[in-house]
Amino acid sequence: MNQRPFLRIFVTPAALCAVGFVAALLAVMQYSLRAYVPGSLEAGGFTLANFTALMKPLYGRVFLDTVWICFLTAFFTLIVGYPLAYALVHARNAALKSVILVITVTPLFLGEVVRTYSWIVVLGNNGFVNAMLLKAGLIDAPVQLMFTHFGVVTALVHVTLPVMVIMLAAALTHIDRDYVRAAASLGAGPIRAFLTVTLPLSTPGIIAGVTTAFAWTFSAFATPQLIGGGQVNMIANLVYQLGFASFNFPFAASLSVAGLALTFAILALLRAAARPLERLGPH
C-alpha cells in the first residue's frame, strides 16, 4: 500500500506559496543592495551605500525607539492580559466565558485602521478623555495625548491584548485543576497556590505571549503613523516614508532588512533568556 498517497498533491501548492514568499523576501534583500536612482522607480547597480547610510544616528534612534516601544507594549500587555486570561479560563458560566472571549477577540478582527482611528477619537484634544477630564474639572486645558509615546503605547497595548490573552489562556487551560487542589490540601491559600503553582506552570504561555507581542508590535505601522503623527516613528513608518514619499525603495529595502535582522536577533535573545524559565513549565 502506498504510504503517502497524496503527498505530491498536498505539498506542492504549499511549496509554491513558500517559494513565492521567499522570492518576495529575496527581492527585498536584493534591492537593499542596489543603488537609488532619484526620480525613477528603477534601481541602479549593486552597492553597499544603503547600509552605510543606515549608520546615521537618526536611524539608530528610530531602531532603539522601536525596540523600547515594543518592550513597553509587551510588558503592559502581559500585566493587563494575564488577569483577563485567568478569568476567561476559570469562569464557571459558559455564557460569561463566551462574552469575555468575544469582547477580547473582537478588536483583533477589526483591522488596524478602525482600531487606531477609534483611539484618535479617544485621545485627541477634542477627544473623549480630554472631554471627560475637562468636564470633571480636573484640568483646564486639553492634555496632549496624541503624538506622544504614551498614546502610541496605549493604542498598541490595546491592539496586542487579544493575542496575548489567547496565548495565555491556551497555556492556563491546560494546567490540570488537580495541581491547585493538591496545593490547597497542603495548606496553600488561594494567593500562595497561584504564585507557587499556577504562575510557574503558565510560564510557557507567558513566554509565547511576550514573544508574539514583541514580534507583532515591531511591525506596527498604522498605529504609530496615525497616533504618532510623525513625532513617534517606528521602523515601519520610516520604511513607508522612504518608499512612498521619496520613492527611495532601495533604502527602504535596506531598512527592512536591518529591521528583519533586528527582529530575529531580539527573538533569539528572548528565546535564550527564556530557556532557564522553560524548566519551570510543565512539559
Partner: protein, 376 residues
C-alpha cells in the same frame, strides 16, 4: 427508606468524640436536580481505614471532596477531630490527599513536592529537609530527592504523592482511587504497603474505590454506597457474609440468586425451601415477610458444591469451565436460577476432567451460610 448502618461492636454508636477522626452529620449535596449525597451521616474512627465502596455515581468521590473541603455541603455538618470544619476552606483543614492522577507538581523536584506542605506551614528549612528525608524513606524512595516527576515511573510517582500527603502529619488521609492506574501485580504490592504504612502511622484514612476486592482486603470498615446513600456500614466480614440488602449482596463479591419460598420464622432463624431442600437463613432481612411468600436466596460460589443425586438442591448442565489456577470456576446452566446460571468454585485439577462442559450435575449448599431477601 434508609437502612440503619450496622456497627461492628456494641457501643459503636457511643464512641466518644475523641475517638472520632471525621464526622459527617446529615450531609446533603446536590448538583442541579440530582442529590449526589442525600442526608448522609458517617463517623470515621481514629486510626481506622474506612473505605467508601460503590459504583460510579454513588457519591463516594463527592463525599471525599466534601471532607477535603473542595466542595461545600448544601446541608449538614462536617467535623474533623471534633472541630467543626464545614465552613473552612481546604487549605485550612489538616488533610492529606492523594489524587487518582497523583497531581505531582511538574515544575518541582521530588523533594520540593514532598516539602511543599511544610513550606506552607513555614517550618524551618532544616526541619523540612529532615522530615522530607523520613517521608521518602517511609515510602522506600530514598535517594530520588532531586528527580522530576516526569522522570519517575507510575509506581514511584504514587509513592511521592503518598509521601507528600503524609509528611504534614494530617489529621485524616484521603485517597481517591489511587491504584486504579496500576497493573494488577503492582496494585497488590502497593495495597499491602499502604496498609502497613497506615497502621504504622495510625493515621485515620478514608479510601475511595469501586473495586470491591480492594475494599475487602484493605479496610477496617467499609461503607457501601449507592445513589447518594450509605447502604451498609461494617467490617469487611460483615459486609461479605451478612449483607443487609440485595444491593450490597450483589455488589460485593460474586453471588448466586436462587428463588425460594419462606417456610417459617423462629426467632433469629428462618427456614426457606429451595425445591425439596430446606435452608436455614438469618431471619432479620426477612422481617415482615409472610409465610409462604417467594424470597430470593443469595449464595456465594464457595458455599456450593457438586452433589450426589439425593443431596442436590438444584440440577443443571455445565456450560463452561474456567481454570483459575487455585480452583476451577464452573458455570452451570440452572433453570431455576435468577440469571439462568449458577457459579460454583471447585478446587483441584480433577474438576476439569470430571465435569466437562455438557455434564449434568447436582448442586448442594455447603453449609447454612446463605442469606435470603424478600422479593418486594
Amino acid at each position: 427508606m434508609r437502612l440503619p448502618a450496622e456497627g461492628s461492636a456494641p457501643g459503636a454508636a457511643a464512641a466518644t468524640s475523641q475517638d472520632v477522626a471525621v464526622a459527617l452529620d446529615g450531609v446533603t449535596r446536590r448538583f442541579g436536580e440530582t442529590a449526589a449525597l442525600d442526608d448522609v451521616s458517617l463517623s470515621v474512627r481514629r486510626g481506622e481505614l474506612m473505605t467508601l465502596l460503590g459504583p460510579s455515581g454513588c457519591g463516594k468521590t463527592t463525599l471525599l471532596n466534601l471532607v477535603a473541603g473542595f466542595l461545600a455541603p448544601d446541608r449538614g455538618e462536617i467535623a474533623i477531630d471534633g472541630e467543626r470544619v464545614t465552613d473552612r476552606p481546604a487549605y485550612r483543614r489538616e488533610i492529606g490527599i492523594m489524587f487518582q492522577s497523583y497531581a505531582l507538581f511538574p515544575h518541582m523536584s521530588v523533594a520540593a513536592n514532598v516539602g511543599y506542605g511544610l513550606r506552607m506551614r513555614r517550618r524551618p528549612k532544616a526541619e523540612i529537609a529532615r522530615r522530607v528525608e523520613e517521608a521518602l524513606a517511609l515510602v522506600k524512595l530514598a535517594g530520588l530527592e532531586d528527580r522530576r516527576p516526569r522522570q519517575l515511573s507510575g509506581g514511584q510517582q504514587q509513592r511521592v504523592a503518598l509521601a507528600r500527603a503524609l509528611v504534614i502529619r494530617p489529621k485524616v488521609l484521603l485517597l481517591d482511587e489511587p491504584f486504579s492506574a496500576l497493573d494488577r501485580n503492582l496494585r497488590g504490592a502497593m495495597q499491602v504497603e499502604l496498609k502497613q504504612i497506615q497502621q504504622q502511622l495510625g493515621v485515620s484514612t478514608i479510601f475511595v474505590t469501586h473495586d470491591q476486592s480492594e475494599a475487602l482486603s484493605l479496610s477496617d470498615r467499609i461503607a457501601v454506597m449507592a445513589a447518594g446513600r450509605i447502604r451498609q456500614l461494617g467490617t469487611p466480614d460483615e459486609i461479605y457474609r451478612r449483607p443487609s440488602d440485595r444491593f450490597v449482596a450483589s455488589f460485593v463479591g460474586d453471588v448466586n440468586v436462587l428463588p425460594a419460598r419462606l417456610e417459617w420464622i423462629d426467632g433469629a432463624t428462618a427456614v426457606v425451601a429451595l425445591g425439596e431442600t430446606r435452608v436455614e437463613v438469618p431471619a432479620r432481612p426477612l422481617a415482615g415477610t409472610t409465610i409462604g411468600a417467594p424470597v430470593d436466596l443469595f449464595v456465594r460460589p464457595e458455599e456450593l458444591r457438586v452433589a450426589e443425586e439425593g443431596e442436590a438442591a438444584v440440577h443443571g448442565t455445565v456450560a463452561a469451565q474456567i481454570y483459575q489456577g487455585g480452583h476451577v470456576d464452573l458455570h452451570v446452566d440452572v433453570q431455576e436460577a435468577a440469571s439462568g446460571r449458577v457459579l460454583l468454585r471447585v478446587s483441584g485439577h480433577e474438576a476439569m476432567a470430571r465435569w466437562p462442559a455438557g455434564t449434568r450435575i447436582g448442586i448442594a449448599l455447603v453449609a447454612d451460610r446463605a442469606i435470603a431477601f424478600s422479593r418486594a
